[in-house]
Amino acid sequence: MAHAHDSSSERPAILDKVRPAELPRSPLILNNRGFHWITDKVCGIVEEETPLWWKIMFGVALFVASFTFIGLGYLVATGTGTWGLRSPVGWGWAIVNFVFWVGIGHAGTLISAILCLLRQKWRTSINRAAEAMTIFAVCCAGLFPLFHVGRVWFGWWLLPLPNQNGIWVQFRSPLEWDVFAVSTYFTVSTLFWYMGMIPDLGVIRDRATTWWRKAFYSLLAMGWRGGNRQWSNFEMAYLLLAGLSTPLVLSVHTIVSFDFAVSNVPGWHTTIFPPYFVAGAIFSGFAMVLTLMLPLRAIYRLHDVINQYHIDNMCKIILATGTMVGYAYATEFFIAAYSGNAFEKFAFVNRAFGQYAWAYWIMVSCNVITPQLFWFKKVRENHSLVWIICLFVNVGMWFERFVITVTSLANDYLPSSWGYYSPTIVDIFTFFGTFGFFSVLFLLFVRFLPLLPMAELKMVAPQADPHAH
């Protein structure tokens, strides 16, 4: 492969003199697996009999998901007062959980869109699952603001639709921008995910042996035939959707950070928020991708397509973005000190040493210190340890949002109105249940849709090179 494109006429003369070392690229697919192996492996996951672990996990996931429905049902029947929100903390777990889940979603788009534009071929092994994660995470995220409006049956007032009051939505509000950003993000991610899946659904359709399977996958595959005239339009559309998703994903978390940054609350009103939120989102999202993919890799024996090179890359991205997040924490402190604004200074000293110091230091240790272990190759090669570190990152990023939201509100300008916020059991039920809700969706995806993008995996195999010797 390394010599595939060498031709003596184009080779610059200098190369013969300096004789550069051959730098072998890590293979993306190990053990020289062929196209048929890839098809069998990925379709096999869908075609095999439902495994026992799946049934057990699905049952557990449904049980956990029921907590969300209990929590939300109680909330709708009683009112938002059942959440721990009261003056001065009017935004509690709901917004924390919303930002947490949206942030997790962002790694999926980063892998599928930005790494596609950057021609990072290693993305092919994980992009399908990461995109699915994006969509399901956004589903979980959307629940919180939707139910936070209180009377959820008026949720449609968020949309620019005529209503009996004769008034419209207010486009100067960052919360309204959020409605547009998150709904666009959900829609475009779903289109991107589905379109990328069409050729693979065609493969499952062609292999189907039972009529219901044939009917189901035929419907989804839209009559895909794999002609190069189709591939040509498909690839162009895929590239364009990647190009559209890239500014979209950056805008979504920027707008989410505007929910905070556009207000006047000390600790929120900072220009660093958009880039800092985006880095944090990618950080937490990659941790979630690894949390999901490491067990799946072990269960389905995907070691040849998700190999150490992929895991190394993801660990390094977590390391890089984790360090960026740490740098942002430091910058926030510096700017607060440098601003000369007493309220701003207090907000940050209060974060680190005030009543929520415990949360702040959980955040710092999980987000800044833990990922530094990824500097060591030994750590990156120990997959159990990688998985545990990723859990720490997930916890840390949840605490980051908690620290930002709650510390600033609990101790703002007027000491007489300061308070201490705690969630209620309804908050806890609702949030805990979203992990089940997410797992239900993800398990259904694993069982019924192609987990890895077969066509893209075949593309990066050495046999796919039309100029190979």
Partner: protein
């Protein structure tokens, strides 16, 4: 089976290796064929040039969607917050492109994405579930690990026996006649 009474869709042949199908495609292109296709389990790098295909027209619909989205976003925010129910906020202008820009931006991306997504279906003439190729007994192999060149009967150059021989000369195996 009476061959003459059935309409023929085209002739197909199979290749097992990417370089083989790639070079065969170049020869079909050079022979001046118009209605033909190469069916592959994955997009082969450089196949568009090897087939002599023009650039995909999908970006036109992306642009159309994006422009429509931008205008829609502007009109939406202007009509709602400035024309139909003017909102006075901090003595600022009723409408400018700045304050609702996130909304306009998202509308632009949303409609551009719709243009791209539906553009792919429109230019690929999909969905279509009844194509003659689906009746091929070994079609499942084409989406798995083999490659197929199809010369269609509607091409002016098509002649059943000559086209068969042409495919044979390209090194194609399992030459099959596809019926409508």
């Amino acid at each position: 089976m009476n061959e003459r009474n059935e309409r023929i869709h085209g002739v197909a042949c199979i290749f097992r290796k990417v370089p083989d199908v790639f070079h065969a495609a170049e020869k079909v292109r050079d022979a001046g064929w118009k209605n033909w296709d190469v069916h592959t389990p994955f997009p082969i790098h450089g196949m568009d040039q090897a087939m002599g295909l023009p650039r995909s027209p999908v970006p036109r619909l992306t642009l159309l969607g994006g422009v429509t989205g931008f205008i829609t976003g502007c009109l939406l925010t202007w009509y709602m917050n400035s024309y139909d129910y003017p909102l006075i906020v901090g003595g600022k202008p009723y409408w400018s492109v700045i304050f609702p820009f996130p909304v306009i931006y998202e509308c632009t991306i949303l409609l551009a994405a719709f243009g791209t997504f539906f553009g792919q279906f429109i230019f690929n003439r999909l969905p279509r579930h009844n194509h003659p190729l689906f009746d091929l007994p070994n079609f499942a192999r084409i989406s798995d690990d083999t490659f197929m060149i199809v010369l269609e009967a509607r091409d002016p150059q098509f002649h059943l026996d000559e086209s068969r021989n042409f495919l044979q000369s390209l090194g194609g195996q399992e030459i099959t006649v596809i019926r409508d």
